[in-house]
């Protein structure tokens, strides 16, 4: 919040040399790129836009940093400058105050007891686990995740119907071949088996091709959105369970469609399949 309070008006400075060595600040890559800042540049910092020189101070860009992946900031396009604590306290008129403390414990098992102890003696603050805060700040992405799941379900239903249609039509197209096989004495089960195996093979090959396309699409999506929102976040991740789900579902649908279509055909008299 302290950083957000500071719509840091950084202006390239061309003023007289200072008596005291200025402090250093770090700015994020996007900020540096937008303001054409480089390490070593002198800048004037103020907590208010257009503030008079007496309420501003000079600093030196000491580092240009890459921001961590934070879902809550993804589409905001904010710039971030990091300063020394006393520097920002003075500049913002915050005094000897902070917005939060981050505390490291010696071991993970200490966290609950430390938290309980802190909250027991707390006066004017409350302690939270980092994990709980992360969950709260990820609400935007939780909504997006739910939306993706819903879109995923609709896509799976649409793909399933599409796959079923194609399989049924493909098998139906071969009814004369099947009729010929039946007239030659090939058993119903052999015909069904061969169609199901073929359908399974097509489904597996199709889904593997789909995985390759999805992998390429995923690379493109990450490249595009990481550049657009200037974040290292991964927008699309293909995991083994996702691949297994896609291939498994495709296999089940393929086998189901093959079975459905072949059973319908082998139950029809061969001559009827010939149109007689």
């Amino acid at each position: 919040m302290l950083l957000a309070l500071l719509p840091v008006a950084l202006l390239l400075q061309a003023s007289a040399p200072l008596q005291i060595q200025p402090r250093t600040i770090a700015v994020d890559e996007a900020f540096a790129s937008k303001a054409h800042l480089h390490v070593g540049d002198r800048v004037t910092i103020s907590s208010r836009a257009g503030a008079a020189a007496d309420s501003a101070e000079t600093a030196i860009v000491g580092a240009i940093v890459r921001r961590g992946a934070d879902p809550s900031e993804v589409a905001r396009g904010d710039f971030v400058a990091r300063m020394h604590l006393d520097q920002i306290q003075r500049l913002s008129g915050y005094g000897d105050r902070v917005d939060r403390f981050a505390i490291g414990t010696r071991s993970a098992t200490d966290i609950d007891s430390t938290l309980a102890r802190l909250n027991h003696v707390a006066f004017g603050f409350r302690a939270y686990r980092s994990r709980d805060i992360a969950v709260e700040t990820s609400r935007t992405f939780q909504v997006v995740s739910r939306f993706h799941r819903a879109i995923g379900v609709i896509t799976i239903v649409a793909s399933s119907v599409f796959l079923l249609c194609i399989m049924v039509l493909k098998v139906d197209e071969r009814r004369r071949d099947i009729a010929a096989l039946r007239l030659m004495g090939i058993s119903r089960s052999s015909v069904v088996q061969s169609i199901v195996i073929e359908a399974a093979l097509v489904a597996v090959l199709g889904s593997l091709l789909g995985v390759v396309i999805a992998w390429a699409a995923s690379l493109f999506i990450n490249w595009h959105y990481q550049a657009l929102y200037r974040t290292p976040l991964h927008f699309s991740v293909i995991t083994p369970p996702i691949v297994a789900l896609a291939v498994g579902l495709s296999l089940v649908l393929g086998v189901g469609a093959g079975l459905l279509a072949s059973l319908r055909l082998v139950r029809t008299a061969p001559l009827a399949l010939f149109g007689r």
Partner: protein
């Protein structure tokens, strides 16, 4: 039937994606223009209520704005947070201080507006949290210091009206008072505003007024409706692009399905088509029949898909409405007749396109050979 269902699902998805691509922008635009304010002024480098920053010198800014003959009305708004003691608990809420004669932030649902300095209006969510009714007196405090657990300003205000905030999120407790009241409760915010809303004279160009404001008042960012929509477009570009990609995939799947169906149908009827051609039916007529078959399947799927699409759009909209801080009035999936027509038009165009290949095959069937093959079969 299965094929028509497949086309219907593709059509539903297409309709949803057209609604998603155009809906949120339209919904946001409708929200911004609903009260007739053309320009918003926020603290430099921020969007309205994006941070706690405020703009100093309200009186001077109003005087500057009034010097432009194109500026018709100015509505300064001060934001903050309050704590209300109710029975055995403290309820927190956001609050805005406004001028009730020119406000453009809320609708009065019942009771009276906050015309007096001891009046407060609240939205339904806050009323429910407080368990309060119109006419109740509330102990309202601002400037809570968590360290010392003290307040900088406290007042007893009468609950005058029930309001609905136009830009409020679903689960956001909100209240409204006169700006002077909020300033009196926050001495450090005297003569400051979080936002100005400016209405320009009819016929004036809001963008030229916006540029004029930015040159005259350097510590504000002036946002016209067009720039606000552009910002929202950027922040939500992910959804528009997703809509475009999924819409294109749906259209392609629909196209592929209709092509397959019509091709299989033509193959099945090869003999019949050959007979028609042999008795003198023209190629153009055969092509017309096959293309019409594709269009008929697309149309049947589109009609079925319209209903299906509206149901799924409602479901998906409910999911996205849970975005933190999203105004209730914003819809991601907004039904517009033109969106439905666009989806229908695209699908029929795909149906016509899908019929071209099988129609070409049907029209170029060798008549004698097809008849012989049919006779042998």
């Amino acid at each position: 039937m299965l094929a028509v269902l497949g086309v219907a699902i593709a059509a539903a998805m297409l309709l949803d994606m057209v609604m998603l691509a155009t809906g949120m922008r339209e919904s946001f635009r409708e929200l911004l223009v609903s009260r007739g304010y053309d320009i918003r002024l926020a603290p430099k480098g921020t969007l309205p209520f994006d941070t706690d920053a405020t703009i100093p010198g309200v009186s001077a800014i109003i005087a500057t704005l009034r010097s432009n003959p194109d500026v018709r009305e100015i509505s300064p708004v001060l934001g903050g947070s309050i704590h209300i003691s109710a029975r055995d608990r403290d309820v927190s809420a956001s609050i805005i201080g406004i001028n009730p004669t020119v406000q453009g932030d809320y609708e009065l649902l019942s009771g009276r507006d906050v015309v007096s300095s001891d009046a407060i209006g609240a939205n339904d969510y806050l009323l429910a949290k407080l368990g309060a009714r119109l006419g109740d007196t509330l102990a309202v405090a601002t400037g809570y210091d968590p360290q010392t657990r003290t307040y900088s300003g406290q007042r007893r205000l009468v609950l005058a009206g029930r309001v609905k905030f136009l830009y409020g999120a679903a689960e956001q407790a909100g209240a409204v008072v006169k700006r002077e009241t909020l300033e009196a409760m926050n001495p450090d915010r005297t003569d400051r505003a979080s936002l100005f809303m400016v209405r320009v004279r009819k016929g004036a160009n809001p963008d030229s007024v916006r540029s004029w404001i930015e040159t005259r008042i350097p510590n504000v960012t002036a946002i016209s409706i067009a720039t606000a929509i552009a910002e929202v477009d950027f922040r939500l570009s992910y959804f528009r692009q997703l809509a475009f990609i999924l819409g294109a995939v749906s259209l392609f799947v629909g196209f592929l399905l209709v092509t397959t169906l019509v091709t299989v149908s033509v193959n099945e009827r090869a003999g019949e088509i050959a007979v028609m051609r042999a008795i003198g039916v023209s190629r153009a007529h055969v092509v017309q029949q096959v293309v019409l078959e594709g269009v008929a399947i697309s149309l049947a799927g589109a009609i079925l898909g319209l209903g299906l699409g509206l149901v799924t759009a409602r479901y998906l909209n409910a999911i996205l409405s849970a975005f933190p801080g999203l105004p209730m009035a914003i819809d991601f999936f907004l039904f517009q007749a033109k969106a439905a027509w666009a989806a229908m038009g695209l699908l029929i165009a795909a149906g016509i396109g899908a019929g071209i290949y099988p129609a070409w095959r049907a029209a170029s069937l060798p008549i004698a050979e097809s008849l012989r093959r049919e006779a042998i079969a």
